[in-house]
Structures are given as structure tokens and as C-alpha cells.
């Protein structure tokens, strides 16, 4: 067998910090092979990629060896690296929004990439740009050359980023979480495209991801990283079928799954029997508009939604970006002005209340934000943050409040010693548990959770979800759970509403909606979720292709 295209041996990267970012990583990528680097945050996967393309941050020291087609890359000067970067190794970033220059046309940016390596100019460059856009399957490539990034959708932007990376026919494509910022249906398209590009051009791909579904879908081989070390490396099928290392098994077990076709265990009645009791939350034909009527541009974010959430139940709101799921959740917490309809919390209309009664209703409401880093005041200690709701409402004596804080910390399984710590000293999962504890301080009857786990690693996410489900059952609060991740919603929600463009497309019991979707859009969403099982990929490959055609 010929020598591998990329050979990383014993790569170690350290900063002034005593703990190295990468301890010892060895990865090989053969020509035309797709290898996935998998790991949670802090595993060193992005640093490894940066070392390969010579973009390590200042102060990083790298040792070991990175060979590309036999040439040592590590230790090359900036000038020598410029000849490698873009020409032999190209990179696709996570966020297509920021990877493109907003003030230049697509055509200009592709021409620039060609010019940078002394490639073609003028007419020939234009022809090559059209060719590249065709390659990444953008419709009407001729016309798109004159477009600006803001005129393209997220998926199309990522396609353009791909075209830029492919401009100089690199031997190796580094893709750092290339689909994380995208909606599921778009993610499925980009993954399929990456596979086709590999098949057509023979470019090797090293993809960095935390998503096991993406791995199963795309990779030939998988390298699992943990805290800067390679834990396991194996062929994709083999790894999923027989994970050798305990960590790999835990990682795979932590991935939330959608119900399989034969998963008939949780059969629930579709329509919740009207209990006659007052619902925890009622949306009665609600609409929300963004923009102002005076300026003549009104965008409906939520359009005539009617939903009902019984006490003690969890309602999952799912949909792609722009579907209005977050707006609907914020509406329940009274954070968005209503354009029409009524929102009743525990039978009372939030909009119709003033003063004391409004404050009383607020006490029964809680909200958990997506980003636990930003939702805790950096100046407050954990204890102060959890106690704040009690302070605001002047509940109980000082000692009783501290007692309550201790109880809550215990409930979210954090040690009491955390009271004195600052948010910065906690990990993401711990912070989100603090945010959950704060939300539960006043014993709410309704909790709105907006993507509470999407900023977390899979294993941490699984743990937070489990904690959440446990608390929900013990304390019996009703909950609106918003997520773009269908599998996550499936693990916690009793009922699900699928939203699209501000309207409810389908709603019903979670097991029914996910197991036997009635609406075509729901089915499309479910199909697009990359299943963490490589055997499924082989079965659905062509189907995915058809689906893409359909969407296009």
C-alpha cells in the first residue's frame, strides 16, 4: 500500500498552562479517505487541525511530526506554509456566516482564492469559479457569482465556503464542525455533498466533529480523542459495532436517539384527554410580528398558533431556525409583545395583569437560557445567583434563603461548596445545572427551557437531560422545552409541536409524532437527522440524494 497522504505522529501541543492541549495524537489519512476526529470540548481536536494547517495560536508549542505526502509541515516558516495552505490543505470553518467577506461578491472571493496561488485570472478565473460553484451544486452558478453572501442561505454559504476551499484542488480538506451551525435538513445536504466531492475528486477529508451521527454518515475511519490523547481509532462500522474503549462506549451511549420503527413500547393516546383542569399554559391563536407596521415591513414570527399544555407535562417545540419556536417560548415567559391572540399561564392572561398580580404570576414562571455562560452574572457567586429570586421577592429570612440554596444545589447534584464559586470556575454542564437550580428556586409551575443543552457536550447533555427529567417528575412542573435537536426533545417531552415558518405543522404525543409522523415536513426533518449507525447510512444513501433533489 502506498504511503498515507497525511501522517501525524506523536503530535503534542502545549501552552504556558501546565496541562498540554494535545498530549500525543497520531492520525493518518489515506488518499481519498474520510477520517473523523471525534471528541468533546477540550479534547484537542481543533488544535490538532490547526497544527496541520499551521494556524496555531500565538504561544503554542508543537512537537512531533505532521507529514503531508511525505513533506514535514511542522516547523515550516510562515512563508513556506503559505504555499501549502489553500493549495495542498484547505480548511472549511464551522460558521459560514463569518468565513465569507460580507462586502465582496462570491465571484470576487473565489477569484481571490485562485489569485493567491498564482492561478488563473480574468475570463479563465470566471470560468473556473462557475465550475467550482457547479461542483458544490449551487443552482445558476453564472448568476450567483455576482451575489453577496447575505443573499445566500446558510447552507448555500457553506457551499461557497467549500468551493473556496476546493479552488486550488487541495489534496486534503480539513472541515472543522462544518455542519454544526446548520439546520438538520441542510446538514444532511452538506454531508451528502462532502461525500460526493470525495467520490468525484478523490480529495481526502479530515472532519472534526462532536456529532456521532455525522461521523456515522460520512467517515470511513474514526479517531476518538479525549483530553489530548487518542483513545481509540478504528473503521467506522467497526467502531460503532464494537467500541473497544469504555469512553467510546459512553460517548455512543450518551447520544440521544429517535425512536426506531419497532420501538412500539411508548404507545400513548394522541390527544391528551381534556382533564377539565386549568391548563398550565394555553396559546390561543397567538401571533407575534417583528418589524414595524409604520415602516411597512411586518414579519410574522408566530402565526396563529393554538396549543395547550397540561399541568406537569412537558411540551417539546421543535423546528428549524426561523420556525418561531424560540419566540413561542419567550412569549410564555412574557418576554415578547403579543400581536394577536391570548397566552394564559395557569388560566390567567399575562398581558391583562398589572402590578402585584402580575408579579405573583411571574413567580410561578421560570426560564432557562441556552447559553449558561451568559445567563449567569459573572460577578455573582453561585449561591447569590440561586438566592436572587428569593431576594427579589423578599421570601423568608436570610438563614432560610441560604437553606433553600443548599437544598437546590443538592437537587441539581452539585456540592454545597459551590455556593462560594463564580460561574467562571464551573464547566458548561455545571453552569447549566446552576441555571436550572435558579429557575427552580421559587417552585415554578411552568418552566420554559430554550435550547438548554445545545451548548453542551453529548455526555454532559445526557446527564443534564437525565437530571432535568428526574426533577420534572419529582417536582411536577409543566415545561415548554425548545430544541432544534429532535432526539433531545424525544427523550424529555410528553407532547411535541413541530413548527415551520411560525405555524404548527403537527402536534401530538411525542412517541406518535416521532414514531409515526403524519405530516410530510415532520418526516423530512426526521429523515435528515444523521443516525449514529453507519449501517443505516449505507441503506439510506440514495434516498438522501433523492431527498436533496426534492428540497432543491
Amino acid at each position: 500500500m502506498s504511503t498515507p497522504l497525511l501522517e501525524v505522529t506523536d503530535l503534542a501541543i502545549s501552552f504556558s498552562h501546565p496541562r498540554p492541549a494535545v498530549r500525543s495524537v497520531s492520525v493518518t489519512v489515506d488518499r481519498g479517505e474520510v477520517v473523523a476526529l471525534v471528541g468533546e470540548s477540550g479534547s484537542g481536536k481543533s488544535m490538532t487541525a490547526r497544527a496541520i494547517i499551521g494556524l496555531l495560536p500565538d504561544g503554542a508549542r508543537a512537537t512531533g511530526s505532521v507529514r503531508l505526502g511525505g513533506d514535514e509541515l511542522l516547523g515550516l516558516g510562515e512563508k513556506a506554509y503559505t504555499a501549502v495552505r489553500g493549495r495542498r490543505v484547505a480548511m472549511v470553518f464551522q460558521e459560514p456566516q463569518t468565513a465569507l467577506n460580507p462586502v465582496r461578491t462570491i465571484g470576487w472571493q473565489i477569484a481571490e482564492a485562485l489569485r493567491a496561488h498564482g492561478g488563473v485570472r480574468g475570463k479563465a478565473a470566471r470560468a473556473r469559479a462557475v465550475e467550482l460553484l457547479t461542483e458544490v451544486e449551487i443552482p445558476d452558478p453564472e448568476e450567483r457569482l455576482g451575489w453577496y453572501p447575505h443573499q445566500l442561505s446558510g447552507g448555500q454559504k457553506q457551499r461557497v465556503v467549500l468551493a473556496l476551499a476546493l479552488a486550488n484542488e487541495p489534496e486534503l480538506l480539513l472541515a472543522d464542525e462544518p455542519t454544526t451551525a446548520l439546520d438538520v435538513t441542510v446538514q444532511a445536504e452538506i454531508l451528502a455533498l462532502l461525500r460526493r466531492i470525495r467520490d468525484r475528486t478523490g480529495t481526502s477529508i479530515l472532519i472534526i466533529t462532536h456529532n456521532m451521527g455525522v461521523v456515522a454518515h460520512l467517515a470511513d475511519r474514526v479517531v476518538v480523542l479525549r483530553q489530548g490523547d487518542v483513545v481509540e481509532a478504528a473503521g467506522t462500522r467497526e467502531l460503532f459495532a464494537h467500541p473497544q474503549h469504555a469512553y467510546t462506549r459512553q460517548l455512543l451511549a450518551a447520544v440521544p436517539r429517535l425512536p426506531e420503527a419497532d420501538d412500539g413500547v411508548r404507545v400513548l393516546a394522541d390527544a391528551p384527554a381534556p382533564t377539565g383542569e386549568v391548563a398550565a399554559l394555553e396559546y390561543d391563536d397567538v401571533s407575534v410580528h417583528y418589524g414595524s407596521r409604520m415602516r411597512g415591513r411586518v414579519l410574522p414570527a408566530v402565526d396563529g398558533v393554538t396549543l395547550r399544555l397540561e399541568r406537569g407535562q412537558v411540551l417539546g417545540l421543535v423546528g428549524e431556525s426561523g420556525s418561531g419556536k424560540t419566540t413561542l417560548g419567550r412569549l410564555a415567559a412574557g418576554l415578547v409583545p403579543l400581536a394577536g391572540g391570548r397566552v394564559r399561564v395557569g388560566g390567567e392572561d399575562l398581558a391583562g395583569l398589572r402590578g402585584r398580580r402580575r408579579a405573583d404570576l411571574r413567580r410561578r414562571l421560570a426560564f432557562v437560557h441556552q447559553d449558561p455562560e451568559a445567563s449567569l452574572d459573572p460577578r455573582f457567586s453561585i449561591g447569590e445567583a440561586i438566592r436572587e429570586p428569593l431576594d427579589v421577592h423578599g421570601v423568608g429570612s436570610r438563614a432560610a434563603r441560604d437553606q433553600r440554596v443548599a437544598e437546590l444545589l443538592d437537587a441539581v447534584r452539585l456540592p454545597a461548596s459551590f455556593t462560594k464559586r463564580r460561574p467562571r470556575e464551573l464547566s458548561g454542564g455545571q453552569r447549566q445545572r446552576v441555571a436550572l437550580a435558579r429557575a427552580l428556586t421559587l417552585d415554578p409551575q411552568l418552566l420554559v427551557a430554550d435550547e438548554p443543552t445545545s451548548a453542551l457536550d453529548v455526555s454532559v447533555q445526557a446527564e443534564v437531560l437525565e437530571l432535568f427529567a428526574d426533577l420534572q417528575q419529582r417536582l411536577g412542573f409543566a415545561c415548554v422545552f425548545i430544541s432544534h435537536d429532535l432526539a433531545v426533545v424525544n427523550t424529555v417531552a410528553d407532547h411535541v409541536a413541530v413548527l415551520r415558518a411560525g405555524k404548527v405543522v403537527e402536534h401530538g404525543a411525542a412517541a406518535r409524532v416521532f414514531g409515526d409522523p403524519a405530516h410530510e415536513y415532520t418526516r423530512r426533518l426526521l429523515d435528515a437527522v444523521p443516525v449514529p449507525d453507519p449501517t443505516v447510512r449505507d441503506a439510506t444513501g440514495p434516498a438522501l440524494h433523492e431527498q436533496r433533489e426534492q428540497i432543491a
Binding site: H17, R19, P20, A21, E40, S41, G42, G44, Q227, G228, Y247, Q250, A253, A254, A333, G334, L335, A359, R362, R363, L365, A366, F367, H369, Q370, D371, A374, S375, L376, D377, P378, R379, E388, P389, V392, H393, R422, R424, E425, L426, S427, G429, Q430, A435, R438, T441, L442, S459, V460, A462, E463, E466
Partner: protein
Amino acid sequence: MSESLLDVAAPEASDPDDQFDTRRRPGIWTALGRGKGLAGLILIGVVVALGLLAPLLAPHSPTEQIPGANLVGPSGAHWFGTDEVNRDILSRTLYGIRTDLLVVFLAVPIGAAIGILVGLVSSWWSFTDVIAQRVFDLVLAFPTLILAIALTAFVGPGLRTVFFVIVAVELPVFGRLTRTSVRTVREMPYVEAAHVIGAGSLWQLRRHVLPNSLEPLLVQLAVSMSVAVFIEGAMSFLGLGVRPPQPSLGSLIRDGVRNMYDAPYFAVGPLALVVALVLGLLLVSQALAEARRR
């Protein structure tokens, strides 16, 4: 399953990223304990000590006329020399510092406090914003000295005028800065989180928004203090500032320039002190600004 997941979570705290997090972020105050910050503090400290201890250190009273000592050069008896009306320049300089300290550590904080208050109010309640912003525009449209001259026309020259000018100049600076920084902070999810748990506007402002907006204001405070030394100097230089015989660093420099040909050493002492004070304040502001960026 939950057991095994908790096992995964156990080493979580030892993740490299987390290790970073467990280091307490050094507050910006620690910047004053080393390097530039420390050097600046020492310079300021020395000047402040000289001013405060003036009655003990000064060999003469600032207004005492010493017989026979007319424009004498620096000597053992008169380190900085004497002026045209036989007064000891060293003594006048030491007492002059006190005037500047008053301006720096009283007028600037007063202007800053009012500015911050106006900035807070205007960034939270939009109807006050329009008024406050236009008034700020008006004040900022004037160059400082023109404003000073105009104000002197109304209230006459004197230390009081210097005070007014500094407050008037600093107020919009702090008002604007507060407004910008508050507008950034109030969009943070933790402020919204406080809103959701039922905290009122004042609570949100006092507990969350203001404390998290303070850092840029602190940097500006140090910068403004150094500017205040110059404003006092410029106003006294033009004769709009403190009235004789009360000394100030600015008026001493003016006297020095007036006697430049007869006594070139005259302005050196007061100038050195102005430089020390301004340099100290700028070093502190730089150290704070750098600590903030880290």
C-alpha cells in the same frame, strides 16, 4: 445508565478547558500591583504625599515674601529658586499641588458621578435619552478652552470656574460611555434572567447592569483625571484659573513663562510635578485598560 454517565462527568472538572476556568480571572485591580500600574500608583502617591505634607515640607509659607531674594536661582536655601515678588517657588509648588489634587480627585469624580447617573437614566428610559444626548452634543461641540472662556465670562475667573468647567467637560464623556456600556450589558441573558424572576428595573440596574458596566468607566476616570490636570494648567495659564496669590501648578508655569528670560529655571519644578502626576495617571489608566482586555 445514569451511573455510567456520572462517571463520564467526574473527570469533567479536569478537562483542559475547565482548568482554564478554575483559575479565577484576576480582577482589574490586580493590575495596579505590578508593572505599569504600580509605577503609576507610586508616581501619583509621591505627588499626593508632597501635596498633603506641604505644611510640613515647605520651608516657607506660599505667600511669604523673603527680603532680598528676588528671582534667585536654585540654591540650598531655595531649591527651586524664588519668584519676582521674593516668594520661595518650592513652597508655592508644594501648596500648588493641593489645588490640583482638589481638581483631580474632587471635580473629576463629581463630574463622573453625575455623568454616570445621567447615562444610566437615559439608557434605561428612552424619553430622557433624546434630551440628554442633544445636551451632550452641545457641550461636546465646544473645544474645552472655548467652553472655559465662555463660562468665565459668566462666573468670573477662579478655582470655582475650573471646577465648573471640569464637571461640564467630564459629564458628557461619562454620560456617553455609561450609555454605550449599559446598552451592551442590558442585552446580556443574565439581565433578562433577572427580569424573568420578577426583578424590577431598578434592581436590574443596581445589581447587574451597573456593576458589569463599571470597568470601562474606571479606565476613563484615570484618563479624565490626567486631562483635568491639563485643563487646570491651561486655564490658570490663560489667567482664567486660580487667582493670585493662591498657587496652583498651572499658574506657577504661567509665572515661569512670563519670567522665562530672567529666570529660565522657574517653571522647571512645577512642570516636573505636572508631568509626574499626568504620567502616573496615564500609566494607571493604561494598566487598567490592558487588564480589561485580557
